[in-house]
Symmetry: C2
Subunit: 548 residues, 2 copies
Amino acid sequence: MKIVLAQLNYHIGNFEANSDKIIDAIHKAKSKQADLIVFSELAICGYPPKDLLERKNFIEKTLKAIDLVALHCVDIAAVLGGPSINPHSKGKNLYNSAFFMCDGKVQSIHNKTLLPTYDIFDEYRYFEPNTEFNLVEYKGKKIALTICEDLWEKQPVDNNFAKEELYTVSPMEKLSQLKPDFVVNIAASPFSHNQKNIRTEILQSVSKKYQLPLIYVNQIGANTELIFDGDSMAINSKGDVACRLNYFEEDFSLIDLNEIEEQKAEEKEVDYIEKIHDALVLGLKDYFGKMGFKQATLGLSGGIDSAVTVVLAERALGKENVRVLLMPSEFSSDHSVKDAIDLANNLGIQYEIVPIQDIFKSFESNLAPIFGDLPFNIAEENIQARVRGTLIMGLSNKFGHIVLNTSNKSESAVGYGTLYGDMNGGIAVLGDVYKTDVFKLAYFMNKDEEVIPLNSIIKPPSAELRPDQKDSDSLPDYDILDEILFMYIEKNMPVSEIIEQGFAKEVVDKIIRLVNMNEYKRFQTAPVLRVSSKAFGYGRKIPLVAKH
Amino acid sequence: MKIVLAQLNYHIGNFEANSDKIIDAIHKAKSKQADLIVFSELAICGYPPKDLLERKNFIEKTLKAIDLVALHCVDIAAVLGGPSINPHSKGKNLYNSAFFMCDGKVQSIHNKTLLPTYDIFDEYRYFEPNTEFNLVEYKGKKIALTICEDLWEKQPVDNNFAKEELYTVSPMEKLSQLKPDFVVNIAASPFSHNQKNIRTEILQSVSKKYQLPLIYVNQIGANTELIFDGDSMAINSKGDVACRLNYFEEDFSLIDLNEIEEQKAEEKEVDYIEKIHDALVLGLKDYFGKMGFKQATLGLSGGIDSAVTVVLAERALGKENVRVLLMPSEFSSDHSVKDAIDLANNLGIQYEIVPIQDIFKSFESNLAPIFGDLPFNIAEENIQARVRGTLIMGLSNKFGHIVLNTSNKSESAVGYGTLYGDMNGGIAVLGDVYKTDVFKLAYFMNKDEEVIPLNSIIKPPSAELRPDQKDSDSLPDYDILDEILFMYIEKNMPVSEIIEQGFAKEVVDKIIRLVNMNEYKRFQTAPVLRVSSKAFGYGRKIPLVAKH
């Protein structure tokens, strides 16, 4: 049996574009004499559709699009992900389903049993879990259709409890009793750089345990904060990865079920920084492309965060679509301005300079009757950052550019940034990248030539909002900061256990206190392109009004 | 049997304060010869704890606090809500439980079966659903302990599907087979003005169906966006409400199970505007009190939204804790300034005036090289709003006041507000109140004397960001706008069905388009005090990058 793995990029709610793309792939697969083509989870409507699933007309459009696709399944079968209506009198209205289609219509519907409801997932909000298990019979083969989490045994939540959260049901256990010939798993599994091999290991373990070939198809592309890396694969019954599709791009691969038994893909190890880089470029590209935006703008400070962000923007959108503003304060060094100009010139992008001192003075003099002779403090620092935020938004409003937020995960974690100032923007490009990884990204970008001026990378980080300010005045070194943050945020470790790892109690206490007291800032920021297993935003729900 | 309904206000994660309060209530109940005292759902840790439930030390502190409370249950029994550890080898780590305690210890744990996972609820994210049903035997009575949603038959989600989402299990059905003498339901059920009688009706129908008395205890108080109204009650086996506790305040009521059979509470109908008023005052009070903040500030424009907000703030925090800034633009009428001053004087609060024209001109001249001779448009309007936002944040940063966001639900829906400008603030006070209800709130506030200058209420709403600007230049009248918004947001109705209600297609299309294209603005705003069945924020999850 010849099977096509169709790894495509879908746009949520864009039924026309999605079904056109799916139908094109079906015809291409037919022209290659494929017997079966497999698309990813909820492909027809895009993933994650969230509360659009509660809209009746969204579901009607979905079902119509599915019927349209089925019409094209003549002399070929397809497995397509989409929501289906729960026909039973009780339970949630919908199932998360795999539609098996051939002979021009939907032949059977197979529903997802294990509905991830943790981190960024909330599938139980919308879907009824499946309780019935059937195989598909097609061309003499029996196929076990499963959906993403159905092959997982436990929920990968880092909560440091004694017990792992094992699922109470095993769909594969049930399906294997019906003696399938191979397994299909359709997925919408987002990228996370620090879980890189788990996915492959789980799929291989299923293959080996049941001694069955496994076809895994994931989507690629970004939908708001979530970036899907693809990484679709065919695994033979020995558990070898016979074929693996490209990361971060659409791909289309024809495999022969008999032949993969003897195949083993050549695997090349890609460094996680390169993957983060590619993920962020795709994240930006899709944010702009799917929203119908063309041009980006940001404030270029001469520092490393805005430098890395602008390079990502240039790579995602093209130099003609990126325009920057340099907004030096009276505390900015000449070098900062020069570094920013050099970078803009290296990239060939348009830049303008608007010093903020005049406007800041105007704020100062107008607030003087209220502020009196109170000393310069965080209030004045933030006013400067907000002058910048207002200038860049002015550019955005006048010319229709989208502002990119340049905050990194480390500073976002400890609240080292000004709300309504430098935290402005439509999308937070580096919001899930710790500062130590921002440095690595900068070096990676410079690997062939010095795009980012070395000085922007090596000089001590500073917000330049008061004389001789340095990040290290109030924060520990970033390598220490990031380690502590990782244990608290990604690993959910209690403070006492973090201290046990060998960090000074007063440092850990201070950092954790900063993280907790700055939840309110993160609440009001742009969506963060997610590249880790625990990003700020949708997948991390901390009550604001709580005692920590 | 004498039972105390303890309707208390809990602070999430503040185990010391919560357990002190619970223990005090137990001793008070004992002094009144009560046999049993009932607290609300997850009382010990506060509701909703969200992802704090994934932290091991949060659970450890919870369990310790529960044991401490149990020690005080001598000569009295208590039902207390809290998370418990799932002892089985599979499933989520936690249950959402009712702890039955007497003789100084926890005697049994009863778990929640129906875990709401819709709108603002995401309990399935944390808890394993219960599958075992047992009664408590105490002083010769058999008690059915249930938790909130356990008594509901369907999920109240307005998704306009053909079928209601009925639950597949009925915990009361199971428990009733064990022949209980009465039912206890502990809840954390948030206030929503447009679902006012549903709660009572459901509880009465359970009482009547099983012919059992029912003790219902809800919490009061606000935790970030959610406001809990209390409304605890005792219902006799005929389905009559025998006793109802106060709305929006802590309350403590002793009932006798025999006596309630002949009792019927005198019910007074409270207008929904008064309830919204009381809810918002409580919401503000708890936001400040539980965060440890004292003072609020906001921009007073002379318009109705900031007027209603400042009155709510004065009532929640006291006049000495509210300070306002008047920030007239060159387009503000003299009358606006006078109305704002009159209001500040009526309330006896401190005000200062900072005209924004100078600062705005400074922005204009600094941006002139970039903007050239492009005409005055939304860019300049937004700069003015952002100058105001920066001034008010300057006050906040200098003096430690928390900024109140004054956007109402209508303008927030259609994006009629400036991100990083007038949308600034720590909490959105009116963000779930449609403009037509803001007017009603203003009249309600003026019922005894004219607190809000009548002119602020009756003049045509305007942002005063360009000459002679009126909201009605670009929006339909608010009564039409609000009706359309309600059908789209609260009722989830398709556009076609809204038009069928008799609205002009072009008006409906325009408004819905505005709602959809402004999801990004709402994504970045402060938490909204929720008073309706569908507020912007946590309970409404719309993907930003999607085609509508």
